[in-house]
């Protein structure tokens, strides 16, 4: 269908919508028109040009330098500014070419060689070559603890060798299979070697020349980030739907903290799409002709992670009892809504290497009670169990919205869980001090290595488990040194079984992201780590 025909269609659709609105009621009008255009859009040709506005749920915490960020809002912006060496197919988890057209991994999984595409440049016209890759990786390592996002995945970095302008070799002192998938994330997006020497503070302002289909025009804290199409761009990921430059002239991210304001903005066509649609707003959006883009968040399921330096480490029956006492389906039904799913493994169902352990993770409160009875935890006067005069009370650091229902579920089997309200600063301090029995956490990472980061006794960067050396280290080492995808999935399954069987990981719920897409938005997609990709997006004028 040609753009001309499209333009003719739209007023007619709107007019019929207006008429419907008059006939029915002021509130329900407008729904029919946009829905029609939206469903017709699947077949229409993309139209280049125009401005697209996407409302994010927060300011990117004042920093647009991806390696320094763990916050998804910032990564959704930087994804458009800096391309990666490889991309990941969100459907299959397969790693596919992007700025690297091919690569080899050594048998010991310590050395990675990349062959770069020719002709790609940064927005300051410097070539995207082997030296640029080296400058980027070196600077991430030099950031040290400030590389909050990228740092954990480049541990054991020995160095990068420029073989020739299009060939580069990255070496590690240990097997590091996950590095290939890590490179597909926004964290490792490439910026110009002319800017890699800038201070971390300066790079936070986003003033760097990137490799992506958009460049940053301006960023105003709490207001917006305005991006412009990179003229001459022609090195999209192999997953892209088209070649050449991006369709949009201007891409504007606004920061709208109120969920209902985001919903209203997309239903009244003030923005093309919005992030973080709440369960309560989903029906409003679809009724007004918007569609929902949902994806299960690959990586760690929302999990309770026992601290291996706390008393829980020596009381496996209580850990197991917590595992059986959690009713995940009830949590999803009452708190999160149908886009989430009940727990089936420590890894979310969309993660490569995921294995279904739903039988092991069944809800069984009687078994929970029995385990604690046998362990000497007897029900006291107020229904909470006691042993040798000690009440069964859990010290948990958690900031999710399901705490009250979990509290109720645990109380039903005689476990006391007083909800502990901590802000980010206080919880950092409590983590550093080891002041918790259990840490509740989830993390986006489309690779089973998230379990290694959590449970390895040697890779401590995200080690909320504060793991002791154990046979789990061997299982994790196998996972991190197995290059073959099928064999690695088997290794990851063994890790998941181990942490569930020993109740070192108590999954709570399989999380999902929901984006609201207005009728004028087309071609928006998600990358392997559920970040927005605007390269193929276009807006109906």
């Amino acid at each position: 269908m040609s753009p001309h025909r499209l333009r003719r269609r739209r007023p007619a659709a709107l007019a019929s919508a207006a008429l419907l609105g008059l006939l029915l009621s002021a509130c329900s009008g407008g729904a029919a028109g946009p829905a029609t255009t939206s469903s017709a859009s699947a077949e229409v040709e993309p139209v280049a040009g125009g401005t697209y506005i996407h409302a994010l749920e927060a300011d990117p915490l004042g920093c647009l330098d991806a390696p320094q960020q763990r916050f998804h809002v910032a990564l959704n912006i930087t994804r458009q500014l800096a391309d990666s060496l490889v991309d990941q197919d969100p459907e299959t988890g397969e790693i596919v070419p992007w700025l690297a057209e091919s690569w080899e991994i050594s048998e010991d999984a310590k050395t990675f060689t990349f062959h770069l595409v020719e002709g790609a440049t940064f927005s300051d016209d410097l070539p995207i070559d082997a030296a640029a890759v080296k400058a980027n990786l070196d600077r991430i390592v030099a950031l040290g603890p400030k590389a909050i996002g990228a740092g954990p995945w480049i541990q054991g970095y020995v160095g990068t060798t420029v073989v020739d302008p299009q060939t580069v070799t990255v070496a590690f002192d240990r097997p590091n299979v996950q590095f290939l998938q890590a490179l597909s994330g926004s964290w490792f997006g490439l910026i110009s070697p002319a800017d890699t020497g800038k201070s971390p503070e300066e790079l936070c302002t986003g003033t760097y020349a990137g490799s992506g289909p958009f460049t940053l025009t301006s960023y105003t804290k709490d207001q917006d980030a305005v991006l412009a199409k990179r003229v001459g761009y022609d090195w999209p990921s192999s997953l892209a739907a088209h070649d050449g430059e991006a369709y949009l002239d201007t891409l504007r991210f606004t920061f709208v903290p109120e969920a209902s304001v985001r919903s209203g903005s997309v239903t009244s066509n003030q923005v093309q799409s919005v992030s973080l649609v709440t369960w309560q707003d989903e029906a409003t959006l679809t009724a007004a002709g918007s569609t929902l883009l949902t994806a299960h968040q690959p990586g760690l399921t929302e999990s309770w992670i026992p601290n291996q330096q706390s008393w829980l480490a020596d009381d496996e029956p209580v850990r197991q009892a917590i595992r059986y006492a959690i009713n995940s389906q009830e949590i999803v039904d009452t708190v999160y809504g149908p886009t989430y799913a009940s727990r089936t493994a420590p890894l979310n169902s969309s993660t490569p290497g995921y294995t279904d352990l739903s039988d092991e993770l069944a809800f069984d409160p009687d078994k929970a009670r029995q385990l604690m009875e046998d362990d000497g935890w007897k029900v006291g006067a107020d229904g909470i169990r006691e042993k040798d005069g000690t009440r069964l009370t859990l010290n948990v650091i958690a900031s999710y919205t399901d705490l009250e229902i979990i509290q109720q579920q645990l109380k039903d089997v005689g476990i006391d869980y007083p909800i502990r309200q901590l802000d980010a600063a206080a919880s950092s301090k409590a983590v550093a001090a080891g002041d918790y029995d259990i840490y509740a956490w989830t993390m986006t990472r489309a690779d089973p290595t998230v379990l290694n980061a959590l449970y390895s006794s040697t890779w401590t960067s995200l080690g909320y488990a504060k793991a002791n050396p154990s046979e789990l280290d061997d299982l994790l080492a196998t996972q991190e040194s197995t290059v073959d995808a099928t064999e690695r999935a088997a290794a990851a399954a063994a890790v998941q079984e181990y942490v569930v069987d020993n109740a070192w990981n108590i999954p709570i719920a399989d999380r999902a992201w929901t984006y609201g897409i207005g009728p004028s938005s087309h071609g928006l997609r998600l990358d392997g780590e559920t970040k927005l990709v605007f390269y193929d997006a276009w807006v109906q004028q």
């Binding site: 916050f71 503070e201 936070c204 109120e258 304001v261 209203g264 009244s268 983590v431 401590t460």
Partner: protein, 317 residues
Amino acid sequence: MSLIGYAARRLGLAAFVVWAAFTTTFAILYLLPSDPILTMLNRGGEGANVDPAAAAALRAEYGFDKPVIVQYLTRLGAALRGDLGRSMQNGQPVVTTIVDALPQTAVLAATALAIAVVVSSLLASAAVLTGSRGLRHALLSLPPLGAAIPSFWLGLVLLQVFSFRLGWFPATGNTGWQSLVLPAVTLAVPTAAVLTQVLAKSLGSTWEQPFVETARAKGLPRSTVHLRHVVRNGAIPTLTMVAIIIGNTLAGAVVTETVFSRVGVGRLTQSAVMSQDIPLVQGVVVLSAIVFVVVNLAADLVYPVVDPRIARVPATV
């Protein structure tokens, strides 16, 4: 007391207030159970498990390993030179961050204040001048209602009707006068409520003054008496409240700017407090103290213009 002595005393007091605000926030923020370095390495809201050695290195780099008194004096010295440090969140200078956001809040607050003054003057005058008891009661019951409506809720209702349904105004942002209307109205309502209440009361009591009777006896029409004599006298108590009103407006900006997704000092305050960005919180508090001091000073200078009698008596603080 000479005029110069009076001015010097006022300025000295102003400086003391700003210093006290700086010192108090420093004390409170350093007594809080948090660690600025861990907060910085925790961008994204999760409790980061940071390598203690790396954290210690950064602590030294930022000077947080020094004794509290040394940190205090260093920061105070820098503040005197106009340097309030850098945000822990993104390393940008605090002064620049605040100066960037300030004009937006100033425009919003000034518009809201203007709306509040006009609305409250009209309401209070109408309530005083009307002959109908019923109308007066109706008008005077508006202020408590206005004060009782939560700004948060009011903002969302205005958005729902005038932005999402009618499409008259944009829901978010700082672009153009259209984006200013709904947030300014939201912010004006509680201020107008307070002003109306005070103004109606003071206009009412001024109408009962003997000089009003004299003016009336001279045959002046009610409207002339009201504008020329009553308003001038009756407005003085509201001037006294101006500092409180400015304070309320700044506080209201936190909610209003968040609901309407606007740039401004209010939203900056909210995010700085949430992330315990100590230098930024301190900067915002010092700024608020300066605003209070300046507004109070200005109010003192305006009194004599409104009421020439005040100029003849040395003002006391």
